[in-house]
Symmetry: C2
Subunit: 624 residues, 2 copies
């Protein structure tokens, strides 16, 4: 039994490691209509503009923050105890759920009773909760009934990122976007959130058994979100490592995290992840179901799968990838593909269909699945089991056939008021990306699209975070609501902590580029603040405003390590003689000194003025 102290020791050690504020920022909470509705944001403090550039104050900028209590110096982290259940009160007071005496799933009980698992079991599992008989506890159900939940209000505040402060700081200046038909709001209201959820255009993945989660929304009329996959396999990775990846993933901006574990201790790993996650957790239940039949796809049954759904729903998984669209008739369409079926879930179900020569049991039992989903508010992520695994296979009959079936299933899910998003892309060359988005919007009634990449070429193993960030930015612009990241290890191995960072940065860039291109209100504020800091040589502010302050500082210091250089009015790239920023300032100074507008200073064409400039401008390097 000496593994018990081992994992607990690891957890204790990790609790210290993962608690780390982001440099230059502080955690703030914006309160809503009730004292327990406190929306976390990250506020980046900015320095005053140097006198030579005007000397004004620069207001702090609040940014969207997925990092949870780990970056809050006032929070105490004990991974072995989990995060506080911030939504528990909201869930409880709705009066439509009951606490269960124990786990409903046979498998869950079996794991609970197995003393050999004491070493790896999370020690403080909360009591599971389920809807009262006949009740539907999905946010979509509330929304359709006109109820604005605290979750919806939380989201409205969160999405706005204190836009009124952005306006006051004069950072709202922004190019008009091209929305491709999205319904972009100037300000997000709780009522707008409710309406979008009711229409099925957005989802709020938050299982009643995951009260630790901070509500967030996925829909094309909101900020573009990013998902990070973690999870061990039979080959590699342990529980502590996965929890660590979770915390790093949200630090670097993951809006949701999927636990794709396939090795042993799937159940226990998931419990550790859920109890410590402030972001929604998604899974692919068929992976675990397959483990239960020792990897023999043909032995999968509806009963085993159903028990797995309940097991995971009672742990608190927020969305399930369910490959109910892999129909028997689509499987042969993949036989002549260059890369066949590349989705793990898709291939498991294709194999089951072949073995039994029957229709996919997830399709035939879809309404029973809906019943489970609405009893816990688990959202569907309808899986694209036939997504293309190569440029050659993009947009083919198998892929688009499945998408049509997913559209049909969406309508069934909506009939049950079950929140639903649709998975998509894979490998798609640029000229074929928009067709995917347009077809998804049409077939699936604007249910949120959630796409892997797409990778825009096959030829760069080791760099697929980049091949796919290109496609992700574009499809995000066209209307995808959440982008599933790809790490540099794609096609090669399992991502480690650094790969998670690289993948997330590429995808935060893609998501933000998409928000800018759609003209999302306030999206350009951070760019504007960054560029103002850049122009004014406020180096610390540049680092802190960036997506990865630590990386930016480290790179700067490689060339110019001294602290003095962080206030230098030139960059290491050009040195003082070549600094274009300084010269622009000369243009401004010249005009200001002569009490005229810049335009007038030049258009009047006074040779005398240029002589003065020459005398005064000989020394362009202003000391701070």
């Amino acid at each position: 039994m000496n593994a018990v102290p081992h994992l607990l020791q690891q957890a204790e050690q990790l609790s210290a490691d993962v608690t780390r504020p982001i440099p230059g920022s502080r955690k703030i909470h914006v309160e809503g209509s009730r004292p327990d509705l406190r929306v976390p944001m990250r506020e980046i403090a900015l320095a005053r503009t140097p006198t030579m550039f005007g000397g004004e104050e620069n207001a702090a900028l609040a940014v969207y923050d997925c990092s949870g209590p780990y970056t809050d110096p006032e929070a105490t982290i004990h991974l072995a105890r989990g995060l506080p259940p911030l939504r528990a009160q909201w869930i409880g007071e709705r009066g439509d759920t009951q606490l269960l005496d124990g786990l409903s799933s046979a498998f869950g009980r079996q794991r609970e009773d197995d003393p050999r698992l004491d070493a790896v079991r999370f020690g403080h599992r909360p009591q599971p909760r389920r809807a009262l008989a006949g009740a539907n506890v999905s946010q979509m159900h509330y929304a359709k009934n006109g109820i604005v939940t605290p979750e919806m209000e939380f989201i409205a505040i969160r999405e706005n990122q204190r836009i009124e402060a952005i306006r006051e700081a004069h950072l709202l200046r922004q190019h008009a976007g091209e929305t491709f038909g999205a319904n972009i709001q100037k300000v997000i209201t709780p009522e707008f959130v409710r309406d979008e959820v009711a229409r099925g255009r957005a989802i709020i993945p938050n299982n009643i058994n995951h009260p630790e989660s901070e509500p967030m929304i996925i829909g094309r009329n909101f900020l573009t979100k990013v998902n990070a996959n973690i999870g061990n396999s039979a080959v590699s990775s342990g529980i502590a490592e996965e929890v660590e990846k979770l915390v790093w993933a949200i630090r670097w901006g993951a809006d949701t995290v999927m636990d794709l574990s396939t090795g042993k201790h799937i159940h226990e790993t998931r419990e550790w992840i859920l109890r410590n996650s402030p972001v929604p957790i998604g899974t692919v239940p068929i992976y675990q179901a397959l483990e239960k039949v020792d990897g023999r796809a043909e032995e999968l049954t509806w009963e085993i799968y159903r028990d797995t759904l309940i097991e995971q729903a009672e742990q608190g998984v927020d969305y399930f990838t369910i490959h109910a669209g892999v129909l028997l008739r689509y499987v042969p369409l993949t036989a002549r593909r260059v890369t066949g079926i590349v989705s793990r879930g898709g291939s498991i179900l294709a194999k089951w269909c072949l073995a039994h020569h029957k229709e996919n049991f997830l399709y035939t039992h879809f309404e029973e699945i809906c019943e489970i989903m609405k009893a816990y508010d688990v959202a569907f992520s309808l899986g694209d089991g036939l997504r293309p695994g190569s440029i050659a296979d993009a947009n083919d009959a198998a892929q688009f056939g499945e998408l049509e079936t997913l559209g049909e299933l969406t309508k069934i899910a909506w009939k049950h008021d079950v929140q639903t998003m649709i998975e998509g892309p894979g490998h798609v060359p640029m000229q074929l990306i928009k067709e995917n988005m347009d077809k998804q919007l049409r077939e699936c009634g604007e249910a949120p699209f959630y796409t892997l990449g797409p990778l825009t070429t096959d030829i760069a193993p080791g760099y697929d975070h980049i091949t796919s960030a290109i496609g992700a930015a574009m499809i995000g612009w066209f209307g995808t609501a959440m982008l599933c990241y790809v790490t540099p290890k794609e096609h090669l191995g399992l991502p480690n902590k650094q790969d998670v960072r690289e993948g997330l940065m590429a995808y935060k860039i893609a998501a933000h580029a998409a928000d800018l291109a759609k003209g999302h209100p306030g999206a350009q504020a951070r760019d504007n603040a960054m560029s103002k800091a850049r122009f004014e040589f406020r180096w610390e502010d540049q680092f802190n405003l960036g997506l990865d302050p630590e990386r930016a500082r480290e790179y700067h210091d490689e060339t110019l390590p001294k602290d003095a250089h962080k206030t230098a009015h030139f960059c290491s790239m050009c040195g003082p003689h070549f600094c274009s920023m300084k010269i622009t300032q000369d243009v401004r100074d010249y005009a200001a000194e002569h009490g005229m507008s810049e335009e007038a200073a030049l258009s009047e064409g006074m040779a005398e003025k240029s002589k003065e400039f020459l005398e005064q401008g000989a020394q362009v390097y202003h000391k701070a």
Copy 2:
């Protein structure tokens, strides 16, 4: 004088370091119409398909190769002597040039005569060459006169990448592209190359004093090219380090390299770079001119600049960035920008204009510059001195005003038969990118566009190779002929060797994604070969077909280090149970074993067949 042996020692050491074949590839040469016309390519050998997947041979794939003799095991590299002058005979036999007794520029002669420079001087400078009086030696001039030069034939062979072999290997299957009006050919002929150069739609940057260069072409109807910037600054970097960056840059796929040095020994660094470069070298002559007046922009004169152009032209620089479009009237348009003028060259000229209150002397002396360009066949890269340095400043009046002037200058250059391309972007959000391309095509008569990125957001210092690869892929698709890379150090510091690699990989991806999206003939062949290798678990072939075989292998080995795993029929990500590729093979095998098409196997719906499959398919893991 002990620096002399120091640099020579460094060069000798480096000569060994930089000579390194690319693993899994061999250098081949495809001969043209004359024995000295030998076009280098890199041939990637591929393994036979494993028996379980069909057992067929896979033909070797030839890919475009910029890496020069450094990757040829049969070449001997002596950096201190430079590369062989492969074009010398072609240039000489045209009979329109003369060898000069010495350098024509005052500055060049002064450096030549300064014994203090012995320590850093390249020791084997070739005799400079110039057009005979009144002659025009530009490829555009030949093209307009109907002459197909050996350079043009070389390019046609190079651009086709042995497309006939691709066809024979059944790798030509490709999605239709969206060309946005580009004139994409199925096969590139020497006559097509000539015609495009004559029309000004493409340029062949190859100064008669850079006979070491392997001809290449920049134009939107050819493969999208990539440029890498290197160069020291007053703050950092030495000669040996720059030569090393050059060699690594071309190894990783740079089609041209710009030497942006601004520190001391600019002249000598450039000589070392040119003599060892098989790719065209570009410079920004104003940087050196500014050094000659100790950084005081207002002291720049046409005479100093003119001498600099001749100095560099006689060294062999293939294209000059010339900011002749920064007109006095545009400078005030930048005063209210968030980031003013960010181009170094642009800001130098803006300052000169302000100081003298006169029109930009590059604009007023433009025709004299043309006379110099055509005497050496240096191409114009008309600089975008007013490019936007932030999302906020994108597509503004200053930027577009300058672009209109560049269009006017293009027509003047063409009147002199001087090859011309146009520089563009900077920071541009996605929804504004296409407007840039469309305006450039319209204003500049389809002269090739050469763009920096664009960066699609400002907020990711440390990751600007990615923010800009997104924009680069898109603008490449829309019609940009060459993409100027951005490294992760952008805005932060000078790139080192690893940054050059990261930047180039991001840009090779962008360029290739653009070629795929345009439907460039044969572009998808490498993707197809890669994906076939992936499906068949030919790991070594996957590494070798990638843009960076060393990185791919290293990442794979982190998870599965053993050699045995390189023939494993599963990936480290999923392990053997979850391998979707294997399951697809089951679909195929099932059909094949039953002597029927896959479609029939399934659509007939025979339960009996599925029973057989079950019996045979229980063991899906085929031993290799």
